[in-house]
């Protein structure tokens, strides 16, 4: 069972991982250097070299390129090249073994602690904390001091002090995997805890173990070399790279080559391993591969092929003409929003509705260049606000419009508000971004705004952090920030999706009242026809990045023209309809069933 899951899902995936690794030039270089060092070290017994321990006093400290000694000789006249290759072999074996030991025990501790939680977790992790409480190498020195210097003892010491690192990493991942529903599902399918740990959890943790190993093996080689350098690791006549360096140190001024050569070798070995390790990490970490960790620019990249003029002379607040946005993917751009046009008048509410992947949120974010870029790119069209094409503005001018004339309210206020600033500070910051007012005045204005959006005891709530408020209150803060500079347009992207229905009703009511009182234009992005029916004057239906139909809300709901709209509306159950709903929708799907 374990075997079948630890093998990669398919050979095609393995090949693509390999190709990805090779596409990374640095990783490929690391692999080749490391591979070369590895092959030479393995072949050491077969290579035509002098015995690494054969002393030759008359020929001591020969410089490199001497006759018969390519890299010269050390203080006892031993051939440095030969010692270097044998020493590399020892350093590699010790470093890799220490990594394997640390990974094995550390991962086991992490897996068990993370899965079992409770007492086992506390006991194991307290033990790990104790080990971590020692400054890294000092514990290793204490252990070597007790066991006595020697290569094997150094190996144990280095492995032991690295166990906490693995245990902590693996425990963290295990805890998050354990909380996933497939673990509960496996239990209900009849699996026991041990089986779940090793056949369900472990396969998901394994990539992290591999990443952690590949990024620490270089470090472990450095540490064992360090102990040997101090004379606590390999004992004469055996020499690893560290002890070669340590012994040659005495002749640093007279024969620097004897120190520099093993030093450079350690560096080359560790560097190649680190390059390779980073490459492996990049391949195995899906976030890095998808570019999810690329730094987003302040404004979405704009590469417009066309810039249509505004076709409406009466200049409503917002006119969007043939807007297209896509996601750059290698050389190609995958379109997400295609040729979308709509307008929004003063005090009007337009709903954009669509299912997941329809491009409705990307449309909303494109208007102010807020689509994360890379990979986002606006490929065409124009956005006119008050008659001005905002996509043609310089970056600074576009940024100046954000939060002033056009503001946003986002979906989940727990993640969209800054977790480390008090809420009033965040509102005040929105005020100060566009007004030359002092901190005190901005704070006062923030309190007023909190009252406007219906937060009672605003003065008390002002210093609360987002996580201390309820979902509804957080969204009210989000709306207060949007109102800070008396905007003309509010773009609300699924503002109530994360909320309970009773809270949703109150937030929608708040938005409606604000719109009426202040003559705000509201662009509401939602997947819920109920919300549209309640709030929007007009509605645009999106599918696959295009608007398939738009018009007056009442007439679209009553008499949808497009097949897709018709089907979408038919699929919404109505309260009071009861079992009749399923009978009503059944025919819709009958013809499409395979």
């Amino acid at each position: 069972m374990t075997q079948s899951v630890t093998t990669p899902p398919s050979s095609s995936k393995r090949r693509s991982n390999w190709q990805l690794l090779m596409a990374n030039r640095l990783a490929a270089a690391g692999l080749f250097i490391f591979g070369f060092i590895l092959v030479v070290a393995i072949l050491a017994p077969l290579l035509p070299m002098p015995d690494p321990n054969m002393t030759d006093q008359p020929n001591r400290l020969l410089p490199p390129l001497s006759q018969g000694h390519l890299l010269g000789t050390d203080h006892l006249g031993r051939d440095i090249l030969s010692r270097l290759i044998w020493g590399t072999q020892i350093s590699l074996i010790v470093g890799v073994s220490a990594t394997a030991l640390a990974a094995l025990f550390g991962s086991l501790i992490g897996l068990v602690a993370g899965y079992a939680r409770g007492v086992a977790d506390s006991v194991l992790m307290r033990f790990v904390d104790m080990l971590m409480a020692f400054p890294y190498i000092l514990l290793a020195i204490a252990i070597v001091a007790a066991l006595g210097p020697g290569l094997l003892n150094a190996l144990y010491a280095i492995a032991l002090v690295n166990i906490p690192f693995f245990a902590r990493n693996i425990r963290g991942v295990t805890v998050s995997i354990r909380n996933r529903e497939f673990v509960d599902a496996a239990r209900l399918s009849g699996k026991g805890h041990v089986a779940i740990l090793f056949t369900e959890v472990l396969p998901n943790v394994l990539p992290v173990v591999v990443i952690t190993m590949s990024t620490t093996v270089g470090w472990m080689i450095l540490e064992t070399a360090g102990l040997s350098f101090l004379g606590l690791g390999a004992q004469p006549p055996t020499a690893d790279l560290g002890s070669m360096l340590g012994q040659a140190r005495a002749q640093l001024f007279t024969a620097p080559h004897a120190s520099i050569i093993p030093g450079l070798m350690i560096f080359a070995l560790v560097m190649s391993i680190n390059l390779l390790g980073d490459g492996i990490r990049d391949v195995l970490d899906p976030r890095l591969r998808s570019g999810a960790l690329d730094r987003p620019l302040s404004v979405t990249r704009i590469e417009r092929k066309n810039t249509p003029a505004a076709s409406l002379a009466d200049a409503p607040v917002l006119v969007v003409e043939h807007l297209s946005t896509g996601f750059a993917n290698g050389g190609a751009v995958t379109p997400a929003v295609r040729d979308v046009s709509f307008r929004l008048g003063k005090g009007e509410c337009l709903g954009i509705i669509g299912e997941s992947g329809s491009g409705k949120s990307v449309t909303a974010l494109s208007l102010m260049g807020l689509v994360a870029s890379p990979p986002g790119v606006i490929t065409g069209g124009a956005v006119y606000i008050g008659g001005q094409d905002v996509l043609a503005l310089r970056q600074q001018e576009l940024i100046a419009l954000r939060g002033a004339r056009v503001t946003y309210v986002f979906q989940d206020p727990l993640t969209t508000l800054h977790p480390l600033f008090p809420v009033a500070t965040q509102i005040a910051e929105a005020v100060m971004a566009h007004n030359h007012v002092g901190k005190r005045e901005a704070h006062q204005r923030a309190l007023e705004l909190m009252e406007t959006v219906g937060i009672r005891d605003a003065a008390e709530r002002a210093s609360a952090y987002p996580h201390e408020l309820s979902g509804g209150q957080r969204q009210r803060i989000g709306i207060a920030m949007a109102l800070a500079n008396d905007p003309d347009i509010i773009i609300a992207d699924e503002p109530t999706t994360a909320l309970d229905v009773t809270v949703q009703a109150r937030i929608l009511e708040l938005l409606q009242n604000l719109r009426r009182e202040r003559g705000l234009a509201l662009l509401l992005i939602t997947h819920d026809f109920g919300v549209v029916a309640q709030v929007c004057d007009r509605v645009a239906v999106m599918k696959d990045g295009q608007i398939v139909e738009q018009g007056d809300t009442a007439s679209i709901l009553r008499d949808p023209q497009h097949d897709y709209t018709r089907r979408l509306i038919a699929c919404v159950p109505e309260l009071g309809e009861g079992h009749a709903f399923l009978d009503r929708v059944r025919p819709l799907f009958e013809e499409t069933r395979p």
Binding site: P9, R187, G190, P203, E355, E577, H579, L582
Partner: protein, 269 residues
């Protein structure tokens, strides 16, 4: 109707509590406070409530993923404590669970075939040939193509993944299904299809459903009876049509009033 599928009496679940190192009482969360409900055989009981109402805790107790603090439960006549004593497999054979997030409920590193194999092997004890036959039947029952078995969860959309999760629940051949927000993560058109599938399976296989959702209209469309939960208690139960037409409790009324409707109100809010 001799024996109800599930019978709960005064069920209580409290999280936390106890005393910490310094002898101070840790804060307690009363997730479920004394619930009594019955699910009859062949019936769909809807449970409606907002976040924090304790509906998911209730569901997890039913399938043995949480232990009740007090009260009693019987599943097909067998007391909960007896099932718990004989391990999770006893639960698995009697009652199954469908999770809210279908993608998270499927192990990303296993094929659908591997995932369906587990309950067939461990709960039903079928041999290899029998399992292979059953897997095909199951995939067919949830209206998925046959090559589904060789594929991995990430190759499926949310709706397809939920069908697969339903197939896994069916594989155990349990007669009771706890459906915890099974359509909340899905788009409306997919949601309707999954609801149709659930209704059809219930009628064909004679299953009993405990259907949990925050969406009143969805619950009404599939349930025979509905229980409304609020802060860990059931405030009202009744036949679906009757409960929504003439709600008795204030909270039920507030819920119904807040639910968005398709009809455009002439005088907006």
């Amino acid at each position: 109707m001799s024996q109800p599928a599930v019978d709960m009496q005064n069920l209580v679940k409290t999280f936390g509590g106890g005393r910490n190192l310094f002898g101070r009482a840790a804060s307690e969360v009363h997730a479920v406070r004394g619930i009594s409900l019955t699910l009859e055989r062949g019936e769909t009981l809807g449970i409606v409530g907002e976040s924090g109402s304790g509906k998911s805790t209730l569901a997890r107790m039913l399938v043995g993923l949480e232990h009740p603090t007090a009260g009693s439960m019987a599943i097909e006549g067998k007391p909960w404590s007896e099932l718990a004593a004989s391990g999770t497999r006893a639960f698995g054979r009697a009652i199954q669970y469908v999770f809210q997030d279908p993608v998270a409920s499927l192990n990303p590193r296993k094929t659908i075939g591997d995932i369906l194999d587990v309950p067939l092997r461990l709960l039903c004890g079928y041999d290899r040939d029998h399992r292979a036959r059953r897997k095909q039947e199951l995939v067919d029952a949830v209206q998925m193509p046959l090559d589904t078995l060789e594929r991995y969860p990430h190759e499926f959309s949310g709706g397809q993944a939920q069908r697969i999760a339903i197939a896994r629940a069916l594989a155990a051949e349990a007669r009771i299904l706890v459906l915890d927000e099974p359509v909340s993560a899905l788009d409306v058109s997919v949601q309707a299809q999954v609801l149709l599938l659930l209704q059809q399976l219930r009628d064909e296989l004679g299953l009993s459903y405990l259907f949990i959702s925050h969406d009143l209209a969805v619950v009404e469309s599939i349930s025979d009876r509905v229980a409304v939960m609020y802060l860990g208690e059931v405030v009202e139960t009744g036949p679906a049509a009757q409960l929504f037409a003439a709600p008795q409790h204030d909270y039920t009324r507030a819920l119904i009033a807040s639910a968005p409707r398709l009809t455009v109100s002439d005088s907006p809010l």
